[in-house]
């Protein structure tokens, strides 16, 4: 058979039996189906919106919102003049506030219980196990409801507040504690704090270099703690204590003065960090278990103290295992903060995808903006944790 004949033979075979052509065909079908679906949905939506008299678009963002918000941080808000855009920004700030504090607290709880779970002390070990198994198997929403309706709501009334010390009050309106109000000259304290933080890094680098050259170890940690405490104190003394302390006091119906945390915020923070902490504890436990025992033994035989063994040998290796699942727990925490809706904390979902949506009827815009916000937060946290993960990853030859 000549070459041309062979080509002819191939050409005769049905094109549909060739995986390459088939793949193209399938993809065209998929694209056409999706396009039809999108067109159908878009058409229905347009018809429905027209019927309900809702103009699509983002014009509603500049309309006045006209409702009150319980918790407003870092912003001025009035129900008369503020717009839906302000509502969105307040929602974002509140979500970030509870998420960031939740991430710190959950990490703290998780690491403590993860280490306790590994303790050789049988009793301690079992306490941690019970905490983890109980908390992980109860829905977060039930826990939030429990904290809000069963714990924080039955706290005493304002006039019968529980006192811890003189100026720390607990009642059913939340927790109040003394506030520090900056006066003129406070800037020096801020500057001193920043300088202290920069100095810490300088000291760390210098100590590292010196250890490489001479082998002498410098107590970096305690030096840093000292710097961060001493410099601002000196600055404060120089300026003659440029701040006032505002103590919480009883008003007619509520506590005035001081800073206070609302029960909604507290319930959400407690619920989120206790729930996520249980998951983080399991991650920490398995991460530390993943470091082989030989590493610890080798460190001991080199004469490292138990503390140094943990800090310099076990933890850096465990972190490589811990960081990826830890990232997804952080992401879960941020997403779970949307459960705020159920207990009335004013986060982005409750305010913007809830109240604003109901007032304006702009369902598509409100939900899309809310989703885009969560998506970008997810992306940011993943990017940061990927960067961190790359930094601590094993450098292979």
């Amino acid at each position: 058979m000549t070459a041309e004949a062979a080509d002819l033979e191939v050409a005769k075979i049905n094109k549909f039996r060739d995986p390459r052509y088939r793949a193209i065909f399938y993809q065209i079908v998929v694209v056409v189906l999706i396009a039809l679906f999108v067109w159908y949905v878009g058409h229905n939506t347009a018809v429905n919106l027209e019927k309900r008299g809702i103009a699509s678009g983002f014009g509603f963002l500049s309309q006045p919102a006209g409702f009150g918000i319980g918790i407003v941080l870092l912003m001025d808000y009035s129900s008369q003049t503020s717009t839906h855009l302000d509502v969105l920004i307040i929602g974002i700030i509140n979500t970030l506030a509870v998420s960031i504090s939740g991430i710190f607290l959950a990490t703290l709880i998780g690491f403590i219980f993860g280490v306790l779970r590994l303790s050789k002390n049988w009793v301690v070990n079992k306490i941690a196990a019970v905490y983890i198994e109980v908390i992980r198997n109860i829905p977060l929403l039930v826990q939030l409801m429990f904290w809000y309706f069963a714990v924080l709501s039955v706290l005493p009334l304002v006039k019968d507040s529980i006192h811890i010390g003189d100026n720390f009050l607990i009642n059913n309106r939340g927790v109040s504690f003394p506030a520090i109000i900056p006066a003129s000259g406070f800037w020096l304290i801020t500057v001193a704090l920043l300088v202290a933080i920069v100095l810490c890094f300088v000291v760390k680098n210098w100590a590292h270099k010196r250890q490489d050259l001479t082998g002498q170890i410098f107590p970096v940690f305690w030096t840093s703690v000292g710097l961060i405490i001493v410099l601002p104190v000196i600055a404060s003394l120089i300026m003659g204590n440029p701040f006032e302390i505002n103590y919480p006091e009883y008003g007619r119906f509520s506590i005035t003065g001081g800073w206070s945390l609302e029960p909604e915020f507290l319930a959400l923070l407690l619920g989120l960090s206790i729930y996520t902490g249980a998951f983080i504890a399991e991650i920490v436990r398995s991460g530390i278990n993943a470091v082989s025992h030989g590493q610890t033994e080798a460190a001991h035989s080199l004469g490292l103290s138990p503390g140094k063994t943990t800090r310099l040998v076990v933890l850096p290796q465990a972190l490589r295992v811990i960081v990826p699942p830890l990232t997804s727990q952080y992401l879960n925490l941020v997403k779970n903060s949307s459960l705020a809706t159920a207990i009335g904390y004013a986060d982005i979902t409750a305010l913007f995808a809830g109240t604003s949506l109901n007032q304006t009827g702009q369902a598509i815009e409100c939900i899309m903006i809310t989703m885009i916000f969560y998506l970008s937060i997810s992306l940011l946290i993943s990017m940061f944790m990927n960067w961190y993960n790359k930094r601590i990853a094993l450098v292979e030859r």
């Binding site: 993809q27 998929v30 929403l141 069963a150 949506l357």
Partner: protein
């Protein structure tokens, strides 16, 4: 005269401080001063917690009675749960029709036992029973409208019954959809892959509440005039799509664990893509993924509580509604503790099952 002992001396028992209860305690509880302190503190914490819980839930609790007036103890008042038990279990399902739900439970329980336990080796007929017969029969039983059964609108469904319906229907839809999405994500066709990656990453990046809001607020806008689903179906659509994305990632994990040689071997035997997937790859991949699938299901089961926010009366929201009743003021703790206990029993049971399964399936790859 020989002073050398010729026979062997009896072994001395180990020192009393090294064995038995005392030895165990010395090693595990009091090995160092810090450890001893920790033990004492923990024992105090345990005593405080356990005595508190026991006196709250049992000793000082009320069990008998009908109304709020019977709550006389200082502890829990389980009368509240008892008085509303029917509602907590079935919602507003008519009392004289509740036997239908019970029959559904029995049918599903038999199916679960046959599919999950070791009693029947060949799972073909149990699977057909569980995944075809039970769903169809349950639909007609629960909703009614044929075979002389009265129609019970889904707005009357509630309590634990609704929670179980939500969880089982969502998993029933999510698993196949998740497998399709996972295959799509690993497909060699770029457009299909892009669509699947886009869907999975989008859904995994947003909270379930926003998906539920979307399903309850936006779905009616997407549908033509006059065509409208009820609230339950809308919630089910949202939950199924949401868990399908998570399921897809779990299945993808299983697929990635199968060596490439398996697919190549299947192809060299002349199997097509679907044959190779269905007969060679997926059975192995799903077997590896089963523990993670169960874990995803536990997550899904816990997430069903979120339907409270879009106004369905599941276990949590019916109890919440009960605690706001004027005649039962101050029953929040009892209510939420009860809900937590119910969820805990289900989820803990499933996680134990998953561990048992993991050990059982850990065969074939051992060396």
């Amino acid at each position: 005269m020989a002073i050398v002992k010729t026979e062997r001396h009896e072994d001395l028992p180990p020192p009393a401080s090294q064995t038995g209860v005392i030895g165990w305690m010395r090693e595990n509880l009091f090995s160092s001063p810090l450890n001893a302190l920790l033990t004492v503190v923990s024992l105090y914490v345990i005593w405080w917690a356990v005595s508190g819980i026991v006196s709250y839930a049992f000793i000082n609790a009320n069990f008998v009675g009908e109304t709020r007036e019977d709550c006389t103890g200082t502890g829990a008042c389980w009368v509240f749960i008892k008085a509303r038990f029917g509602q907590i279990m079935y919602g507003f399902y008519p009392v004289e029709e509740r036997w239908r739900v019970d029959i559904g439970y029995v049918l599903a329980a038999i199916g679960l036992f046959l599919v999950l336990s070791d009693v029947v080796k060949n799972k073909k007929w149990p699977a057909v029973y569980m995944f075809v017969f039970v769903p169809v029969v349950c639909y007609f039983l629960f909703y009614g409208g044929s075979f002389g059964l009265e129609v019970v609108e889904t707005s009357q469904w509630g309590g634990l019954f609704l929670t179980l319906v939500l969880a089982s229907v969502s998993i029933f839809v999510a698993l196949p959809l998740g497998i399709v999405l996972a295959l799509g994500r690993r497909s060699s066709m770029p457009i299909v892959r892009m669509l699947c990656v886009g869907f999975i990453e989008f859904v995994r990046g947003v909270p379930l509440i926003t998906v539920l809001f979307m399903a309850s607020v936006m779905l009616p806008l997407f549908l033509p005039e006059g065509m409208n689903f009820d609230k339950l179906i809308r919630a089910l659509v949202g939950m199924s799509l949401f868990s399908a994305a998570y399921m897809a990632e779990v299945v993808r994990g299983g697929l990635q664990a199968i060596p490439k040689g398996q697919m190549e071997a299947a192809k060299s035997l002349g199997l097509g893509y679907w044959q190779a997937m269905g007969l060679i790859i997926l059975p192995q991949a799903l077997k590896i993924a089963i523990p993670s699938i169960v874990n995803t299901f536990i997550g899904l089961f816990k997430d069903t509580t979120l339907v409270l926010i879009i106004g369905l009366l599941d276990l949590l929201s019916i109890v919440k509604a009960g605690t706001t009743d004027k005649e039962w003021v101050g029953m929040a703790t009892e209510g939420y503790v009860f809900v937590a206990a119910v969820f805990w029993v289900f989820c803990f049971g499933m996680s134990r099952y998953s561990i048992w399964l993991e050990n059982k399936l850990h065969t074939g790859h051992k060396r």
